[in-house]
């Protein structure tokens, strides 16, 4: 780390910085709405809600729930109404920069699961790429891991910088700002902060370590991808795991790493648009085929897919990386308290037997 890179932002300086940033960029900050905490555009008077893990991760800023892929319009020849031409309008996202400030490291890390799918390799997704390139993540390191946190299981940690452009480390009644990327550095510069003192840096490191120690120890998961694979045909196991699941989409829609989508056309008169919307493998319709056949007719098969995808199929495709950032939202937002950790461990133990 280059000395002089680390800046200190006093607590009361935060909103000034955000205000400054919001002159040039859209700044999404966690704000309370109802009892939920959401990423909403900062406006004058917005109150930042940084104490709780945001209810929803910042996923939708890069991967919106509805992405318009294109607009189209039929144009008719008034003399020959049976002849019509189709006009297609591109709808790529603009190049304005968005800053997401106050997400947790796990929320930013989530995009590292997206990148291999949408942003690397043979097939590139221009919508994702455009948004990803123009979004800056200023993550807030966690001080107090929650009962549901398990980032350490999947390679993360309370002060993990993967996916973030700037890391905000709590210290000395404010934050030590640690730029991770050049974009991050530029963002920090806007604040005109003073360098962080060595004491502040030490305290920040100490608090980060403390937080990491407060996480329950991570189990060994190396064998899990294969073991889940072996359990694929074992429906009894999955029925047991899924007994209390109600097949809703709270887990997937709040998951920073779930990226499945559906594409549909919506019309109004002669105009229409092709949209891409989040899809949800817990839904019966996810694999409902046009013939009426559904290879995953029950919730057991769907839960198997969700867990399997995250802890088996994805890592097998992408260098043993789990498609999970350990944020624990699926656990705490589940109305029936389904615990993915329990399922992963059960799978591991089941295979052990």
């Amino acid at each position: 780390m280059v000395m002089g890179d680390l800046k200190f932002c006093p607590k009361e300086g935060l909103s000034r910085w955000v205000e400054e940033l919001s002159r040039e960029h859209t700044v999404l900050v966690p704000q309370q709405a109802g009892d939920a905490v959401e990423f909403l555009p900062f406006a004058e008077g917005s109150e930042l809600s940084l104490d709780r893990q945001p209810t929803a991760p910042p996923k939708k800023s890069v991967f919106p729930q509805t992405e318009t892929l294109m607009r189209f319009e039929y144009q008719k020849d008034p003399e020959h109404p049976d002849r019509q031409t189709l006009q297609i309008k591109e709808t790529l996202p603009g190049k304005e920069k968005t800053v997401i400030l106050g997400c947790r490291p796990c929320g930013a890390r989530g995009f590292s699961v997206f990148d291999p799918v949408f942003g690397q390799g043979e097939y590139l997704d221009p919508y994702y790429q455009a948004r990803r390139e123009h979004t800056v993540f200023v993550s807030l390191a966690c001080r107090h891991p929650e009962n549901t946190c398990f980032c350490n299981w999947v390679g993360g940690g309370p002060a993990d910088s993967a996916g973030s452009d700037v890391l905000m480390l709590p210290a000395g009644g404010g934050y030590v700002l640690r730029p991770v990327t050049d974009q991050g550095r530029q963002i920090v510069e806007v604040g005109g902060f003073e360098d962080a003192s060595p004491e502040q840096q030490t305290e920040a490191d100490r608090l980060a370590e403390e937080a990491a120690e407060n996480l329950s120890p991570a189990p060994e998961l190396e064998e899990v991808p294969d073991k889940l694979f072996e359990l694929f045909e074992n429906l009894d196991f999955w029925e047991l795991m899924a007994a209390k699941c109600i097949s809703c989409g709270a887990c997937t829609y709040l998951c920073p790493t779930c990226y499945c989508f559906n594409i549909s056309d919506e019309y109004s008169g002669l105009q229409g648009k092709r949209i891409r919307t989040w899809d949800n493998c817990m839904s019966n319709l996810f694999t409902h085929e046009a013939s009426g056949h559904n290879p995953r007719p029950t919730k057991a098969q769907r839960l198997r897919n969700r867990v399997g995808h995250k802890f088996s199929y994805y890592p097998k495709l992408h260098e043993q990386v789990f498609a999970c950032c350990g944020c624990g939202r699926c656990i705490k937002s589940c109305p029936m308290s389904v615990d993915i950790r329990e399922i992963v461990l059960s799978a591991k133990e089941y295979a052990d037997e």
Partner: protein, 319 residues
């Protein structure tokens, strides 16, 4: 609860005749209970009954049709069971109801407002109306009455709608009570524009996860819900607030005269949208119009599946 031992014994006794008994067990942390599907004596040992057992287990019953099912149910939960029976969505012969006197319930949103992030709670214990919560920073002593979900404040249930076995502690009082519906009253004090803005604002948060629908014991369509189909195409896949609002109206209207106000929809909503209010409003109107309360009488006909040639409570407009 003192009766838990007795309850466990009874479940153990009946288990051989049953495919599964649904109850609650401790969840992933101190403040979360989780549904338990008990098939072995060991699993029965894990059964708990306390104010954290908030899930209405009746929601699982239609999915288990054809099996012999035992269910542990609070008084208000039996109202949902009554409605399911009334609509022939489950069979009485397949069902064994272990009715427990409700120990009260904790609205986790209210608890969070009192003690902060629930993910940091180390322990929680109950002693009559006192609730003691420990976090790494402090210990709080709270009043259970302050933590009750809204649904426990609008209707009082002393007795279950139906029960095969009943478990009550001798000194136990009914926790829920009938009071003015404060949420609804607050809403009705707003003017129309404010109410419109209220719903627009709240519903904009909806992520269309349909937890409200899937947790609802009365949502019998489940996989066939019209929210998901293109034929009929009631909703588009777009996520604008109109679609979200329309979905809530579909849900509410399909529950009209059927909703048992268990409040699971609102509890399940991860985005904390106060959707139960719409259903309560409809229930209140149904009661006023037809003198009907869903789920209380297994033999009644739901009000929207019947009519009177002269409707005493409907005053039609003169033109």
């Amino acid at each position: 609860m003192k009766y838990v031992a007795e309850l466990k014994a009874k479940i153990r006794e009946k288990l051989p005749e049953l495919d599964v008994v649904i109850g609650w067990k401790q969840g992933f942390d101190p403040v979360h209970a989780s549904p338990a599907f008990m098939t072995t004596p060991e699993e029965i040992e894990q059964l708990v009954v306390n104010p954290l057992c908030v899930q209405n287990l009746a929601t699982y019953l239609p999915g288990l049709k054809g099996k012999k099912v035992g269910i542990v149910a609070r008084e208000c939960d039996t109202r949902s069971i009554g409605e399911l029976l009334q609509e022939s969505l489950i069979e009485r012969e397949e069902l064994t109801v272990f009715s427990v006197k409700c120990p009260g319930a904790v609205d986790l949103v209210k608890l969070r407002q009192q003690v902060g992030d629930l993910g940091r709670v180390r322990s929680i214990s109950f002693d009559g109306p006192r609730v003691t919560v420990e976090t790494p920073d402090e210990s709080s002593s709270l009043d259970l009455g302050e933590l009750l979900p809204g649904k426990c404040r609008v209707m009082a249930y002393d007795e279950p709608v139906l029960a095969d076995f009943r478990f009550v502690d001798p000194d136990q009082d009914t926790v829920c009570r009938e009071e003015a519906d404060t949420d609804l009253v607050a809403l009705e004090q707003m003017d129309l524009d404010e109410r419109f803005a209220y719903w627009r604002g709240h519903l904009d948060r909806c992520i269309r996860c349909y937890a409200c629908r899937n947790v609802c014991p009365m949502c019998v369509c489940q996989d066939q819900c019209i929210a998901d189909t293109r034929d009929p195409h009631w909703l588009s896949a777009e996520t604008d607030v109109r679609q979200k609002w329309m979905f809530q109206l579909i849900h509410a209207m399909h529950l009209a005269g059927r909703c048992t106000e268990c409040g699971e929809c609102e509890r399940a909503c991860p985005m904390d949208i106060p959707i139960l209010t719409i259903r309560r409003k409809l229930n209140r109107e149904i009661h006023e119009l037809f003198g009907y309360t869903s789920g209380m009488d297994v033999d009644a006909v739901p009000p929207l599946l019947t009519f009177q040639p002269e409707e005493k409570s409907i005053t039609e407009r003169e033109w």
